[in-house]
């Protein structure tokens, strides 16, 4: 009883061995089309949620409710309840915004970019990762919306003809963010939903109770699996993947411009767009691993999301850790090489000043700890990769904190220097944003198909048109891959 019974107890089969003579299986356990459906569809079809889900949802929903209550307090009282003050005018809210919007980019990379690169291993994780993106962008978008002060005028951010004769400042990246993030939100939701339509139709056809049948039926838009439907579906999917791909690069570049177009030392540097995009993919993959390791365990998805999938994601984490580490090094080098005394001071201040604890936390979490992923054992052991991924999440939050707060607390004029004093509301709203994220994510896990069933079926050997029963003899057996 208890926790032990909730864990699926599926054995781990190692399909990470690289054999040049044959492709390793992406789905293990001798699945056919029907068993793939059953593995995924039985999760939303449970009449009652598991105790683990209910407890997690209760915690997440409480934190989300706290966030909403604090937002109400913010609207009524004003920005003074936060720690934003002179000189650190930007604090936790923008750190949280950049943190969440960065996390979203990995989901789009997995969904869109890996699709264009025909990386078939993405099919087990793309639905899950894209859901993470949608909810992360929701959390991200909340912060700029609520931080404006007079939130009842937030519609002024939109360029509409008005009696004041004013337009928003199109020269400001803060406005570009409005368009970039809302475009990203729109495209991500459309892409996620489009991909889900065939699977929602599967749930509709399997539904036995009237309300699920009605709702899944409504959202599956009359899907019948007709070849004509698939023809349009594949074209639309391809276009959304192609449209989402530049967003992965552009959205976080525009977010980095919020800082890079200023004159503040430590901000005004051209490394920011690639540095931020690499950091976004880094933190996003770490969040996917953080969510996926327990999810595959609790929901019994180990045969669809195999060690190979986790191994591949960890390799992405290692690679982007190097890019982020390079950015740290080159920033320091350029600060010295430029001869600009303000720039050099800023980086000495980061490493040795009052926020050195945050800086070194960032370096250890983002550069040192991911080096453990050179070890195959670390890359293919779920509990190890989960701990490393948590450290990366922490490190990436601190990276945004270090960039924003250290540069603002000590910029050009020492007479203006002061430390940042976050209030309890700042901390609680950060925690509350996790509550919103996990509330939405747990609802997704409970009611929607977590794995793209139709796409996973296409990577089974039986799905190939030229597959005959004889081909099953050539498919590598599971025993060859068992540890």
């Amino acid at each position: 009883m208890g926790l032990a019974s909730m864990i699926s107890r599926q054995p781990e089969v190692d399909n990470t061995i690289s054999d040049p003579t044959s492709r390793p299986p992406l789905v293990i356990g001798q699945h056919d089309f029907a068993t793939v459906t059953e593995t995924v569809a039985r999760i939303p079809e449970r009449p009652r949620a598991t105790l683990a889900w209910k407890v997690s949802f209760a915690v997440a929903a409480s934190l989300a409710a706290m966030f909403i209550a604090l937002t109400g307090y913010l609207f009524v009282t004003g920005i003074g309840i936060w720690g934003n003050n002179s000189p650190v005018f930007w604090g936790f809210p923008i750190v949280n915004f950049v943190f969440w919007v960065g996390i979203g980019h990995a989901g789009t990379l997995i969904s869109a970019i890996l699709f264009l690169f025909r990386q078939h291993w993405r099919t087990s994780i793309n639905r899950f990762a894209e859901a993470m993106t949608v909810f992360a962008v929701v959390c991200a978008g909340i912060f700029p919306a609520i931080h404006v002060g007079r939130v009842w005028y937030v519609y002024w951010l939109a360029p509409y003809p008005n009696p004041m004769g004013m337009w928003p400042n199109f020269r400001s990246p803060l406005l570009w963010d409005v368009f970039a993030v809302s475009t990203y939100m729109t495209v991500s939701v459309l892409f996620w939903y489009l991909g889900m339509i065939p699977d929602l139709a599967t749930l509709r056809d399997r539904a036995t109770r009237p309300l699920p049948r009605l709702l899944y039926g409504l959202f599956s838009l009359g899907w019948s699996g007709s070849a004509r439907h698939w023809h349009r579906f594949e074209k639309a999917y391809l276009f959304l993947a192609a449209l989402a791909t530049p967003l992965v690069l552009s959205v976080h570049s525009v977010v980095s411009f919020d800082f890079a177009v200023s004159l503040i030392p430590g901000w005004h540097t051209t490394i920011f767009p690639p540095y931020f995009v690499a950091g976004a993919i880094f933190s996003g993959f770490a969040m996917v691993v953080t969510l996926m390791v327990p999810a595959r365990e609790f929901f019994g998805l180990k045969e669809l999301v195999t060690l190979r999938h986790l191994d591949n994601m960890n390799k992405f984490i290692l690679a982007t850790s190097f890019m982020v580490g390079y950015a740290y090094l080159i920033e320091v080098f350029m600060a010295w090489y430029s001869g600009n005394k303000y720039e050099l001071f800023t980086f000495l201040n980061r490493a040795l000043g009052p926020y050195a604890w945050a800086y070194w936390t960032m370096v250890i979490c983002n550069v040192a700890i991911p080096q453990l992923f050179w070890s195959k054992k670390c890359r293919t052991t779920p509990w190890m990769m989960w701990i490393i991924a948590i450290f990366v999440n922490i490190g990436m939050w601190f990276e945004r904190f270090v960039i924003i707060v250290t540069s603002l607390s000590r910029d050009f004029l020492p007479g203006s220097w002061a430390l940042y004093k976050p209030t309890i509301i700042d901390f609680l709203m950060l925690i509350g944003s996790f509550g919103i994220f996990f509330t939405l994510f747990l609802l997704f896990c409970r009611y929607l198909p977590m794995v793209a069933m139709a796409e996973v079926k296409t990577v089974l050997p039986q799905a190939h048109v030229h597959h005959r029963h004889a081909a099953e003899e050539h498919a590598p057996s599971e025993l060859e891959y068992a540890r």
Binding site: G225, A227, R228, F239, Q462, A463
Partner: protein
């Protein structure tokens, strides 16, 4: 296939009549082969239903390609040209100016003197 299926019997309250044929196949390869046969035989009102897309099936069925690419291109063009024309279109391109005054702007002088 039975020859009688080409000429359905007249509708009659006592006699059943064929309105169509449904067939179920065990593998994508079998479905493709059947699709090619049906398409070659000239049938027009038919379809294939699959739980996942099968590569090449739409070509085998001679499905007319969707106009979606043209719609996306049109929407993309509108999205690019619309705001650009609001900003002035080709008049806002940064074509270098040759007038003397524009090479000595006050803004540029102050920027040059403030560096370091």
């Amino acid at each position: 296939m039975n020859d009688n299926s080409h000429s359905p019997t007249k509708p009659n309250s006592h006699q059943p009549h064929y309105v169509g044929v449904v067939a179920r196949f065990g593998s994508p390869a079998d479905l493709m082969a059947a699709a090619r046969q049906i398409s070659a035989a000239g049938y027009r009102y038919w379809d294939c239903h699959t739980p996942f897309p099968i590569h090449g099936l739409d070509r085998a069925m001679k499905i007319r390609p969707t106009i979606l690419p043209w719609l996306v291109a049109g929407a993309g063009a509108m999205g690019a040209l619309g705001p650009w024309s609001c900003n002035g279109g080709p008049t806002e391109l940064p074509i270098p100016s040759t007038s003397v005054e524009n090479h000595f702007s006050v803004y540029r002088l102050t920027f040059l003197s403030s560096s370091n």
